[in-house]
Symmetry: C2
Amino acid sequence: MVNSQTAGVNSQAADRQPVPPSGAGPGPGAGPGGRGRGRGRPRSFDRETALEKAVLAFWEHGYEATSVSGLTEVMGIGAPSLYAAFGDKRSLFEEVVNAYGTRYGSFCGRALAEEPTARAAVERLLREAAAEYTEPGRPHGCLIIHAATNCTTPEVEASLRARRNADIAAVEDRIRAGVAAGELPADTDTAALARHTGAMLQGMSQQARDGAARQELEALAELATRIWPRP
Amino acid sequence: MVNSQTAGVNSQAADRQPVPPSGAGPGPGAGPGGRGRGRGRPRSFDRETALEKAVLAFWEHGYEATSVSGLTEVMGIGAPSLYAAFGDKRSLFEEVVNAYGTRYGSFCGRALAEEPTARAAVERLLREAAAEYTEPGRPHGCLIIHAATNCTTPEVEASLRARRNADIAAVEDRIRAGVAAGELPADTDTAALARHTGAMLQGMSQQARDGAARQELEALAELATRIWPRP
DNA sequence: GCGTTTCCCTAACGGTCGCTACAGAAAAAA
DNA sequence: TTTTTTCTGTAGCGACCGTTAGGGAAACGC
């Protein structure tokens, strides 16, 4: 009665893949949209640009407070185009979170991977977070931390929570590697140090949202590194 | 056309005062509601009990995600009774925040006021926060920190933000007093220490929401105090 | 040119939101 | 008792939510 179709899930099988695994470069076809060759009319908007707008919207207002009509407005497309290109709101948000991670959150992984010691890695992580969280011209703080607190959709909340805990686990892995390498005492409480790093990141993100300036967050980062065992 | 009344603000001038400044004790009249003597039918529910339920609901789900229908359900009253007793959703939330502060957040002010030194005050503040934020049988974390992030009503978000910043300012006042008393070096960066304390509280609150146990938060609190100038 | 395929726009769906008119019930005051 | 005042339950308001038919319009392969 409500939906006389098969099961009313989704009738049009649009492309909807997060990112087509095309070869290197911007891909074939310089036209707008340009996702290789299709049979019919090509998309009239740039998917990546629209996704970036969605990232900024979700980043600033969070999952719930960002309405689909608000999304269509900032993305410059109609609701049916949004649903055809990204699926429903949740899958768009999922894609947004991934895009955020690669475009804005990559400094975390880089700091952990590129620095020679665990201590230097965490120091750089916190220092760069102070800058990232207060970068002018974009929302302050971290999307992963703030976009899905107090959410009526528990799965969304749980997904970001899992991401946060995974990030802390990554820090702990790096610290453990430092202990194994002999940089840190063998009895170092790696879990506590990692959790402390995560708590500092989360506190800094909240402070950034509450109006703290970059210098203040950097002072915070500097303070936080004092707890480490003397080198 | 929409509202043929005067301005449609509020027709019934119910009592709606947050807490009647009655004398000490539970007040006159042991009956349910018992707000002195009124002329008509007395309220059939206990206002304080209902408010406490609202505190827990807002605490757990936040301002936006707590619907009025959800509130009426947990409070055990109908929507008109809620509006007559507490005004609209926002003023109820305001009252909830105040009630939370006096019933669950008072440990902050006590720690700052009762300890002999600034360092001991902050240490106790963090240690007790670890316990408060993970207390079984009630929502984890802090309502002030989490109930109005990503809010479609900017005033509500701003109100809690102001409260957080005021709390940090209170910590800084205590630290400054410690400097003035000679407990701490005269060149102590009081603002940074206070902000660090606030960031730790916020990080601990988020960790509590993300599933951290009391012991883990206590380890965090212990770590955080290492940054203080040696006594 | 053709037909086909896909996209975009308008409009609307059912559901929930915060909020309230209205009438009836209940208790205090007379 | 009667009168007056207030509370409570039903039922519904308009607005917005996320989501989707359905009908042109546009660009492809041929």
